[in-house]
């Protein structure tokens, strides 16, 4: 596609439910990142994929968070048993990888846990 696409753009869920957030990166981009941004805060790194593997999962806040990437393309971030503190904008970015790591961001998914 022309850019990084994320879905849904907004998600309201009840506390305790599971949610899945999807990211379609730019075609040909091997690197994919997930970040979280709370209101008025900076970008909190969650996880990074190079191809289908995730060399760095250090940012996942708890074992309720998991992510996968299949076919070196689409990625899904899953949050189990959501809590109110999970409310934030979840941003996905992709880059060509290698020496050039300019990141292209999607518009984000705004998650609200009520």
């Amino acid at each position: 596609g022309a850019g990084v696409s994320q879905s849904p753009s907004n998600k309201v869920t009840e506390k305790g439910k599971d949610v899945e957030l999807r990211c379609d990166p730019i075609s040909g981009h091997t690197a994919l990142y997930w970040y979280r941004q709370s209101l008025g805060q900076g970008l909190e790194f969650l996880i990074y994929f190079q191809g289908n593997s995730a060399p760095d999962k250090s940012g996942l806040p708890s074992d309720r968070f998991s992510a996968e990437r299949t076919g070196g393309s689409v990625s899904t971030l899953t949050i189990q048993r959501t809590q109110q503190e999970d409310s934030a904008v979840y941003l996905c970015a992709s880059s060509l990888g290698g020496a050039s790591t300019e990141a292209f961001f999607g518009q984000g998914t705004r998650l609200t846990v009520v």
Binding site: V4, Q41, G42, D56, S95, A103, F105
Partner: protein, 113 residues
Amino acid sequence: SQKIEQNSEALNIQEGKTATLTCNYTNYSPAYLQWYRQDPGRGPVFLLLIRENEKEKRKERLKVTFDTTLKQSLFHITASQPADSATYLCALDPRYGNNRLAFGKGNQVVVIP
């Protein structure tokens, strides 16, 4: 611990003046440093990348410097315009390891007409 620091206070500047933002970092050895712009409700947009062996980079009205001794980057917007009002984030691209991009919290710029 690793830190990337940007001024948390918004920079208010008169139209036409030069806005200068600072990004300081500790316990990083970045191969590259990047600057992004973020508007409310949108994802960050890439502006400039500077390599560790480059002192200065320019793009239109933007100028970035990178001092690896001081562990600091300066971001300048010359002849600022109201449309430049946004939050600007610096990001470090580490030399080794996992290549994850680490972002500062951003610095808001408000250009007053």
